[in-house]
Symmetry: C3
Subunit: 370 residues, 3 copies
Amino acid sequence: MGPEASPGFTAAELQAHLGGELIGIAPDRRLRRLASLESAGPDDLSFLASTRLRARAAQCRAGLFIVSAALARALPAAAGRLLVSDPYAAYAAASRWLQARQQALPPAGFRHPASLIDSDARVHPQASIGPGAVIEAGAEVGEGAVIGAQVFIGAGARIGERTVLHHRVTVYHGCEIGADCLIHAGTVIGADGFGFAPGPHGWAKIAQLGRVIIGNVVEIGANCAIDRGALDDTLIGDGCKLDNLIQVGHNVRIGEHTAIAGCVGIAGSAVIGRRCMIGGGAGILGHLSVCDGAVVSAMSLVTRSITEPGLHTGVFPLMPNAQWERAAASLKQLPALRQRLRELSAGARMPDPGPDGPSPQGPPANDSRD
Amino acid sequence: MGPEASPGFTAAELQAHLGGELIGIAPDRRLRRLASLESAGPDDLSFLASTRLRARAAQCRAGLFIVSAALARALPAAAGRLLVSDPYAAYAAASRWLQARQQALPPAGFRHPASLIDSDARVHPQASIGPGAVIEAGAEVGEGAVIGAQVFIGAGARIGERTVLHHRVTVYHGCEIGADCLIHAGTVIGADGFGFAPGPHGWAKIAQLGRVIIGNVVEIGANCAIDRGALDDTLIGDGCKLDNLIQVGHNVRIGEHTAIAGCVGIAGSAVIGRRCMIGGGAGILGHLSVCDGAVVSAMSLVTRSITEPGLHTGVFPLMPNAQWERAAASLKQLPALRQRLRELSAGARMPDPGPDGPSPQGPPANDSRD
Amino acid sequence: MGPEASPGFTAAELQAHLGGELIGIAPDRRLRRLASLESAGPDDLSFLASTRLRARAAQCRAGLFIVSAALARALPAAAGRLLVSDPYAAYAAASRWLQARQQALPPAGFRHPASLIDSDARVHPQASIGPGAVIEAGAEVGEGAVIGAQVFIGAGARIGERTVLHHRVTVYHGCEIGADCLIHAGTVIGADGFGFAPGPHGWAKIAQLGRVIIGNVVEIGANCAIDRGALDDTLIGDGCKLDNLIQVGHNVRIGEHTAIAGCVGIAGSAVIGRRCMIGGGAGILGHLSVCDGAVVSAMSLVTRSITEPGLHTGVFPLMPNAQWERAAASLKQLPALRQRLRELSAGARMPDPGPDGPSPQGPPANDSRD
């Protein structure tokens, strides 16, 4: 991981992998690592992909930059540059290429002697199974899949080709994960949804008979909880990216290529469209729908379905506490202020601002009935 | 899990289990599975429990419905119906009945050879212990309990009869879980509460000497964290239901049959009453009390004790971002607006709206001192 | 853990450990346990450290109190007292002392036979390794470290001296944890940061090549997720205290002795100063900075960098739901109200309150580009 672990690479090797035009650097110049603008030294590769970082790039000591022609003039004159059309995508490709060179994955077909694979599980000969992993009867693990240490794969669950489950991922019985997915440590897929019927003796359990079905090329971060459906399945579409500590309730459906930042909670039976972006800590109430391309700001609560793409926000602005106390106090008196203003307007013979109209938000529901 | 896994059941078998009156269907008609109104086909059982779903039920192709007499007229004329007084409770019972028919639990008395049970632990002969489970000295596991793969049960902890701990649940030393509980994967019970004393060299650790005591028939979702008490115990009452990713701080006490949705955080020493409902992502500050029957909306922060049952809300309404920017800007100027209005009122010789009075909310505390 | 587990201690033993002046109690008086003001009985030790608890202390039946001279008069006249200058710090010290007397740690040098230690790992002979723990090649574990059951320590990771990793902690490859740290069950250190480049076929993965570096004397609660850096490292300074279920994004840097309550989410590349306090459920957007000594209220979202120490808040006040509906409706009409007030002011020939000025808050960003 540290610099000493990196074998390094030449500018020509990088160009061979990424394409682009190499300028101002010898092709056989050896570079040590990919580094940020702040930390790169003369033997490092860095990148510039945003105009707002031009000033920082001008101070950067990197020996070679991935950059577009338009941004290249911001760089120090002596620095090498690999000109590409999309430097951010090229940086992403370079990062993956370098990781693959550095990281020793377990050999395909590896079975740790301390893994516990049921004789009725179908594990592809070219899948790799780590120490302490438990794979129950009827489960399937596809070709090239990498099952980390202490992973649990329940009865009848299916793990697609080349999917990587990091340490301690739990996949409950019957759930399915597609191909080329990456699930990080501690995430739980397929625990019971939160369903109870009220009754005279308290809450009666509703057995959760559905599954979780996850598409291809999905990434899920650490310590998430994706619940199985009550009757139908919980669905996560191809290409979705979920950060850490995310809760996905039962029967939720998430469209392709939607990205969800950390600590988001999605209540049961919500339907989220394709290519949405949900900011960190946001919440989506149950049974709502969010249209394709909608963007929800961090820590905003979606209390009604969103029908228009674009950014939606509901956050109390941060203030020094004394100012907040005044604003919060005024907020409580706001309806009275409106009434007073209405009276003043009448006295001034101005048109009345009219009634409040219906509440803009129903009360955020606390709904276990779905 | 899939349809192929289900042996199916007859209408008469269902009636024998649920009671009720069977109408418009042959008792020996075989049904395949319990399905939602959206996905049910002619060989499936569905249910209608809410007037707001009548239109959807009218389109449903299910062969048999669990329904009340009052709602039955909304169903397709040709569909079979099992008339019951509380169709939602009957659906819950049906779901549990079908799960029990489908799901193969480990046999009572099962000991996986890769489990690690201390010779001084008292595990009931009819409890089942999964692979990789660790049970330390002095721990007790009751009759019929099911301990999943890779579970950790610390020294002196007690697990009640018929309680199920799913994969990778951690129960720290000395904690107690009652009978008939269900704890989902990754949940941690009894880690240290967050207690430190400020000092000249930084925060000094306060050892957490209490325990977590969980009552009977409690369900806790995946990846929760329930902290042990500092001196007294953290208490969760009988019949409570907790969703995923919930934080319960040290010394918290939660009354019977309270339901808490996902991503809620409850700070130390809060006392929550019986039959409360806490919406997803809500927060409760430390040392507060919430009375019996209180309902807190999703993502609302409880900053003062709640003394009246019913729904309490504190959420900035979601808006298109441009509208939010205007509202947020105005909010900061609200105290100035009030002052201006007061001056105008004086000019118009209207009674003064009076002073602000004390702040309605103390500042949300950041209190590690308890 | 219960009273029966405690061997008890004499007043003189306590004084020998804590210092202070013992008054009104025989030095050889034996005490059973350290207890809260509510639960202490005549054979217990309790403490009074806050004036606001004086009334409660006056009712407490404890046989001995840790207390300051200033607060001692609030206690029952017959109670023993150990007079100290800082009773809260003395309580903390007493709690640690009693825990050390009660709790049996595994012997230094312990290796559970079911642990899986790579032959190329460097585990100090005086470190203790629990059942099911996996330690990969090149990893280092320092003297006196305690590695709990089912812990995973990836290739090349380093665990400092006397650091305790509780059950099921995951430390990804290359990450480093300093000395005297305490990490609770289920926490994941070093999973990939949330980094993707948008492209024509969806999100392209950015390999996360940095590490997590944690200083000395850091405590982290249960089920947290601390992501590795994209290029540079994620850094947590000496003496930091993190509660449960906290998300720390890639490249975040947290200064020394900062305390973070449960359920906080910190987005990528945020820089947090020293001795800050972040309330439970708060959020900090990416690429922002928070100055030394800043305090953020619970569930507040930091949307701009904080440059002044002290308390900052952004929380919609909790209200009975009907009142909230009116306030939320008024909030949406607030800009129109301001306009109306401006018109009235003009009619009354009062000075215009002026334009809104720029928005006080940029939109909370949803930024995966760092």
